[in-house]
């Protein structure tokens, strides 16, 4: 917070420095105004809402209700289910979301691969496809009868291939597979990270007689840890807000059997369907605090596993 106080030292600057500071403030003022209007003020307003009883579905006089909205969450079994759904999905989506782009990037970075530029572009390409269109295109893969995933499984002799999006258990891997079309951006980031690893390190590992696995474990992964850390933090932030794909696929019904009623989807239903603004606001703040806690935890843990080459943070 010390740098917060610095904000006010603008009054003690010498004329030249003050002129520069004022110009700078003028340039960033657009963002400052936007931040106050579209972020800080609404956040505080949401927080205030959580202590009231605004519910557009019921006529009632506005009252402060203390912690009632927060206490209601402890008794809301649908909310518990939604939280469970979100964690289940996160446990599958995050490891795959970290590992798969790295694996593809390792393939694309291999010195024996030809036409690297072409592959890089083609793996990125689906990333620009609107996700509604992506769902209709890639969702076909998961069709229990006609999708080639199940046709392939049947050809391999699997008796009862999964029902994917219609099955309360398989829906989570199904949604992860459905999300794969957008891995292109992560692949490019991983690839740039791999290309940034100094070749001397690989030469040294070779001289030390390290094999492929040892090199991956002792050189590539430590050197990639900042990229993986960045992906993990953004992945956590994204996965706890995940709801658009189930919203489009199931029309927000949570089919099958509530298995796709994600926390954020339940939150938006509380807002827009049940119009219980105060309860929805309380859920939004819980979501915010949850993401904040996880992000802070990740940043704290990073000093044990993220390796920043050449600088001591």
């Amino acid at each position: 917070m010390s740098s917060f106080k610095e904000l006010f030292s603008i009054f003690h600057l010498k004329p030249n420095a003050r002129r520069e500071a004022l110009y700078g403030l003028a340039f960033i003022s657009l963002w400052l105004i936007g931040f106050l209007l579209f972020t800080l003020f609404p956040m505080i307003a949401t927080l205030v809402f959580t202590f009231t009883n605004i519910n557009l579905a019921q006529e009632q006089s506005l009252q402060f209700v203390g912690l009632q909205n927060y206490l209601a969450m402890f008794k809301d079994s649908q909310l518990h289910n939604a939280l469970g759904v979100t964690f289940k999905y996160a446990l599958i989506a995050l490891p795959i979301g970290l590992a798969l782009p790295l694996i593809v990037a390792l393939l694309l970075n291999n010195k024996y691969l030809r036409a690297k530029g072409f592959f890089r572009i083609m793996f990125y390409l689906p990333f620009v496809i609107p996700f509604v269109a992506g769902i209709f295109a890639w969702g076909g893969l998961l069709n229990p009868e006609q999708g080639w995933i199940n046709q392939g499984l049947e050809a391999l002799g699997v008796q009862n291939p999964p029902g994917w999006l219609n099955d309360p258990t398989w829906v989570y891997p199904g949604l992860v597979i459905l999300g794969l079309w957008g891995i292109g951006s992560a692949v490019i980031i991983n690839l740039a990270g791999l290309q940034g690893i100094p070749t001397e390190l690989y030469d040294a590992a070779k001289v030390d007689g390290a094999g492929w696995w040892a090199t991956l474990w002792n050189v590539t992964l430590p050197m990639m840890s900042p990229v993986l850390f960045y992906a993990l933090v953004l992945g956590v932030v994204g996965v706890f807000q995940y709801f658009l794909v189930p919203l489009v696929i199931t029309d927000g019904t949570g089919r099958p059997g509530g298995a796709t009623m994600f926390f954020n989807l339940y939150l938006y239903k509380t807002f827009f369907t049940f119009q219980n603004m105060s309860y929805g606001a309380a859920q939004a703040w819980v979501l915010f605090l949850l993401i904040l806690a996880l992000t802070v935890f990740l940043f704290w843990s990073s000093k044990y596993w993220v390796h920043y080459a050449g600088d001591t943070r």
């Binding site: 700078g24 960033i28 990229v227 979501l287």
Partner: protein
Amino acid sequence: MQVKTVNESQLATAPAVSSSARVKRMLREGGKSFTLTFFVIVLLAAFLSPLLRITMNSFKTADQVAEYGTPLYPAKPRVIEYQGKEYDIYKVPLAEGVRELALYKKGRVTSEFLDPANLSAPPIVWEGAWRSLDRAWDFAPTLSNYQQVWDLIDYPRLMFNTVALAVIGTIGTLLSNTLVAYGFARFRIPGKQFLFTLLIATIFLPAAVTLIPTYTVFVKLGWIGTWLPLLVPTFFANAFDVFLLRQFFLTIPREMDEAAMIDGANPFQILWSVILPQAWAAVIAVGIFHFVYTWNDYFGPLIYLSTRPDLQPIAVGLARFNSIYGNKPELIQAGTIMTLIVPVIIFIFAQKYFMQGVVITGVEK
């Protein structure tokens, strides 16, 4: 980690390799290269196969999509006209090999076929169930799905909305983010580090925590059912784009700014004539990222324009179309292609800038 360095000359003095060993090594490396490249091609084909499938389906007739066992490409059954009647052509296995013949008389045990090349010749009798035979198909793409979707979805209107939203939003994004990034990159402001941290922290903020008051204010302003809630915020910068542009501006040497300043240029002139000419790649990256982002945006238009289908962009229009015509997959697939074609074309022409932009935001942290 201990790092040993290898002297170049040490490597060079390795025992001379005989030419046959060198050929062997080249062959081995060529083999590895071929195997790996082939594997990646297969992987890529699997990855992109859904795109190919919907492209094919979008050119098929409804009958072909519904019928089982038809070719993967758009096709119609081959028929031949004879004496005013149409006969289907089948692939019939005969003693001399498989021949394509017209089914003339259907029978349970034996059927009679005509030779399309010589229709007046006596029919060929074939023993077996004609239903077990494969039909012969002609490649026959149809544009009728596209024509139907064009009218049903009011494609020109959706397209106009999407382009207008994307263009205005991109202008707002470029203006605001360039100015803000310049402010963060070049000026000594007290507490700048704090403000920058605050800016980056907004990336981690769930949208839900600001949505209801923002929505309520837009209702009070009478902005629901207009484009304003989608466009106005673009003129106030955002964390991702400021970050990308600032990182790029920081790589431009300060000496040139200072030289211009000594010549009496004001900060706007420096931004315009020194910084921007060297930062086009990043500016273009931000512009096309935002353009594509608008094309893909679904939730914003959904909540702010739900009462005004005539103002909605294509992503919302496609989802609405799917909920009405979900039982006509060939139409949905044509609509899907019509939605994704523009971003894909933009990407193909501007892929260099996409790649640069991704790398700047993703790695230079």
